[in-house]
Symmetry: C2
Subunit: 197 residues, 2 copies
């Protein structure tokens, strides 16, 4: 139905997460209607991001400069390393504005079913970093799901022998939530994790 | 928080319809994770679509060839012209697979509030086409909203003097709908438009 260049654009747009044919078509028709420089700017941004952005050689977050801004910052606490699965998690922690240490982006979680073992994540690099960079606390902020917990456990066992403090972010009821709607597992963890008040 | 090239990509992605900061960030992180050739393919498709796609000089639908495939097709009924507001409407009518004539894409609807007058739409071109191309029926398929109805009325007055049949798509209850939930206006139109059974 569409001319080949439009069909191609719709097909490429469908690779974006959560974008089906209908949304891709809407995007494509928008691009066709919009001024040429808008499409060109998006095309340039796509190419530029792949050319210029690399993982930081220290923490593996995505960065233009290497080491990244955070790893170079004298205002961050270099004795703390927060381990996250991916860039999106790092961003979420940064947005909370309560953590001012460094990060370590694993690049995923352990998942034997999908063939992801320790050597596929930046675990050796984390251990090296903890051993040589004066790290005093490693905060495990992998996702609170099965794979994230398994990954956290693996990391704890790999890092504890180095004699640094290993902590795990609290699992509990979300702020603003309602106990009535909390699932049993979360509520159980919230009770386990109770603190003096 | 993000390196400038990532921030730029997120900003450009936010121009797509219905894409806010959160979705744009998800798209950008996906692009960063995906192989380079995927980002390059999308960038190329964006540039190509703007370079190669033009409005058909006869019906103004978006096309690579001019006149477009539909306008050149001997299998379409060249005596019927279905007038739509935009490419998305044309696509919707095509998908119904019950119409086999030609189209005329107006490029919007009359909207004095937004400064869109008859000279901003392809109305003169439609009248010329009807006058000179042996058109026998003009089907007004502008949207069933206030602006679409006003545009249809304007077109009816412009085309009727030429002595061709002017029709309007039926307004009524949607197929598969429930009368209980039909709004009064639609139900009123459905009753007005009733036919022998």
């Amino acid at each position: 139905m569409f001319a080949p260049p439009i069909a191609r654009l719709i097909r490429e747009l469908q690779r974006l997460p959560g974008v089906g044919e209908k949304t891709a078509t809407r995007f494509a028709l928008h691009v066709l209607k919009a001024p040429s420089n808008e499409a060109q700017a998006l095309a340039n941004a796509l190419v530029e991001v792949k050319e210029k952005i690399r993982p930081c050689s220290a923490c593996f977050q995505l960065t233009e400069a290497d080491p990244c801004e955070l790893c170079r910052s004298p205002r961050r606490d270099h004795r703390a390393v927060c381990v996250v699965e991916d860039q999106a998690s790092l961003l979420a922690v940064e947005k909370a504005r309560t953590y001012f240490g460094l990060y370590h982006v694993l690049g995923g979680h352990l998942s034997p079913m999908d063939g992801v073992g320790p050597e596929d994540l930046k675990i050796r690099e984390l251990v090296d970093r903890v051993r040589t960079q004066g790290v005093e606390e490693v905060i495990l902020a992998t996702n609170p799901d099965v794979e994230g917990e398994a990954t956290a456990l693996y990391l704890k066992r790999a890092i504890e022998p180095l004699g640094v403090r290993v902590t795990r972010i609290a699992r509990g009821v979300p702020v603003g939530g309602d106990l009535e709607f909390a699932d049993a597992l979360t509520l159980g963890r919230a009770l386990e994790g109770r603190r003096e008040y």
